[in-house]
């Protein structure tokens, strides 16, 4: 087990090094001078030269990369050009909203995907099964921003049940904040429930065909106990993987959802940074989000052993 963890951590570090290289290159492949692009048309040559020196752009590329890696390792992601504060601080300020939104969306996606997936597997081949498979495919085909706008139109404007946008005033209570996140979480959760639904169905179908499930049925246990206790527990492992993966995908999906609902989270920060060409923020956010993505995947793999004692590394 320990050897496996060490090997996986090693692989992860290698991937993160390449990720850092890709992130590093993004500000370097900008057509023209990144410093000039960032400062805009009104900048004087002196301003541009000063920023170039500050960013270390006058150094050789490899030296720049080594300096960049050193900065990352000391948790320094540079300073935002427009926000006048360190990128880490800007990210931290917005992390709470994005985390809450992601967790709520995962909750919704799991609440939709898992039970429907189980029902679909139990009623395999019947109309109910075909309907749920069709639902999963439809859910995966709908853009989350379109669901978001549609929810705003009907559940916030026509029927004033939910706020149209934003995260409430600064003094808003926890419940008020949650109320602001309901529609965004539904918009993000529905498309992502599709994958969970399909995996739950497949995984349950595999398990329901096993001998021990037949034995459990043969000894007269009620179907509910067989499905939820004998089958679901063993089907959970692939389902957990896909829930982990979906969580990681949703952190990125939050970029679009936060824009639709005007939520001041990490996603919103990324989009405004792209529109303002605030490269330190873009790079920092990319690094943090993809780092989280890799970490979640690793955590899911390690959880295997906890959930299923048969898994040995």
């Amino acid at each position: 087990m320990l050897a496996y963890i060490v090997r996986r951590l090693g692989g992860m570090l290698l991937v993160m090094l390449i990720v850092a290289a890709v992130v590093f290159m993004i500000a370097r492949v900008v057509p023209g001078d990144p410093a000039a692009v960032m400062l805009g048309a009104a900048a004087t040559p002196e301003d541009i030269a000063a920023l170039r020196t500050r960013m270390g752009l006058d150094q050789p590329l490899l030296v720049q990369f080594v300096i960049y890696l050193k900065q990352i390792l000391s948790f320094d992601l540079g300073d935002s050009i427009f926000l006048n504060r360190p990128v880490t601080q800007a990210l931290a300020e917005r992390a709470e909203l994005t985390t809450s939104l992601t967790l709520m969306s995962v909750g919704i996606a799991v609440a939709i995907g898992t039970p429907i997936g189980i029902i679909s597997a139990v009623y395999r081949g019947r109309t109910l099964d075909q309907a749920t498979v069709a639902f999963a495919m439809l859910a995966a085909s709908v853009p989350s921003f379109w669901i978001g706008l549609t929810l705003i139109k009907y559940l916030a404007v026509d029927l004033p049940w939910f706020p149209v946008a934003g995260y409430g005033p600064p003094e808003a209570t926890f419940l008020e904040r949650l109320h602001h996140l309901v529609l965004p979480a539904i918009a993000l959760g529905i498309p992502n429930s599709a994958l969970i639904l399909r995996f739950t169905r497949t995984s349950m179908l595999d398990v329901l065909g096993e001998d021990y499930v037949r034995t459990a049925r043969a000894k007269g246990l009620p179907p509910k106990v067989v499905i939820l206790k004998h089958a679901l527990r063993n089907a959970m492992i692939p389902i957990l993987t896909v829930i982990g993966l979906t969580t990681a995908v949703m952190i990125a999906g939050a970029i679009v959802t936060e824009t639709v609902f005007g939520l001041p989270g990490v996603g919103n920060l990324i989009v405004s940074a792209v529109l303002r060409r605030d490269y330190p923020v873009i790079q920092g956010a990319l690094l943090v989000v993809s780092g989280l993505y890799v970490l979640i995947n690793l955590a899911v793999d390690l959880l295997y052993a906890v959930v299923d004692p048969r898994v040995r590394y």
Binding site: V15, S141, W146, V256, V271, V274, V289
Partner: protein, 283 residues
């Protein structure tokens, strides 16, 4: 079985799946709209008519008019052309790049490790995030969206091609070709590549669907195709100020996206089932 050509076998498989055929028919209609839109649009998609702005879908304008009085149906039809063009070019680019990387990795073992770590790293970014990052570096344009999404979806093709190549290279017909003295490029191009076509087509269909969804999201965020070009994503983005009164502005472009992506995914699923010999035995 052996006498029928692969195409006939495929059609035979698909005939048993009416839903897939229906999806293919819808896709055919969408494709026809894309190809013919300049000649069949009811109105000039760019023509403004301020007197008839924000008219609901009745009478002369089936899908209503937008804030400048432009015909939404004509714009959705023109959007079909642009969104499908982006999707198609992304598939071509990702498939070509992915096939090269996958074949190199699967055939030249010395390159395999490095190439796979590279694709791992690209896949360590969520799709939309990597695409946004590329767009930040390249700047918004239709060509750059194709370039960014092409690179984003390359690893998916590369992995499938590599896995299939690893299997194919050990098969007797490749051994026979080697024994006959065929050069490696000839074996790869004449013997291995043709056998990779079906997994590549299946993967390409799904990438087509993802590319349309991601392009729409990028354009919606304002970092994709410039807003003056009426792709479906741009139409929805442009309607954000008005959709509370005029929901048809987001309804129809949105439905166009859903219908296209849904039929692509259904056709992709159908092709995968029909082309996968393991599944054929089961059903």
């Amino acid at each position: 079985m052996a006498s029928a050509s692969p195409t006939i076998l495929l059609l035979r498989q698909l005939r048993r799946r009416p839903v897939v055929l229906a999806a293919a028919a819808v896709l055919g209609i969408i494709l026809a709209v894309a190809l013919l839109s300049p000649w069949i649009v009811p109105y000039d998609p760019m023509k403004m008519d301020i007197l008839n702005r924000l008219k609901p879908p009745v009478g002369g304008h089936w899908f209503g008019t937008d804030e400048f009085g432009r015909d939404v149906l004509s714009r959705v039809m023109q959007g079909t052309r642009l969104s499908l063009l982006v999707g198609f070019l992304v598939v071509i680019l990702a498939t070509a790049l992915g096939a090269v990387l996958g074949l190199l990795g699967g055939y030249i073992r010395a390159l395999d490790g490095a190439l796979m770590r590279f694709t791992d790293a690209l896949m360590a970014f969520p799709d939309i995030l990597l695409a946004i990052a590329f767009m930040a570096a390249l700047g918004p344009s239709l060509f750059n969206v194709v370039l960014a999404l092409g690179v984003v979806y390359t690893p998916r093709v590369a992995r499938v091609v590599r896995a299939a190549t690893l299997v194919l290279r050990e098969l007797p017909f490749v051994e026979a070709a080697t024994a006959l003295g065929a050069t490696t490029p000839r074996i790869v191009l004449r013997h291995v590549l043709p056998n990779l076509l079906s997994p590549m087509i299946v993967q390409g269909t799904f990438i087509f669907a993802y590319a349309i969804l991601t392009e729409a999201a990028l354009s919606f965020l304002g970092v994709g195709v410039p807003p003056t070009t009426p792709t479906w994503g741009n139409m929805i983005a442009g309607a954000q100020q008005y959709f509370r009164q005029a929901d048809w502005l987001i309804l129809f472009p949105g439905l166009a996206i859903v219908l296209t992506v849904l039929s692509l995914q259904m056709v992709g699923d159908g092709l995968r089932d029909a082309l996968d010999p393991r599944l054929q035995k089961v059903t």
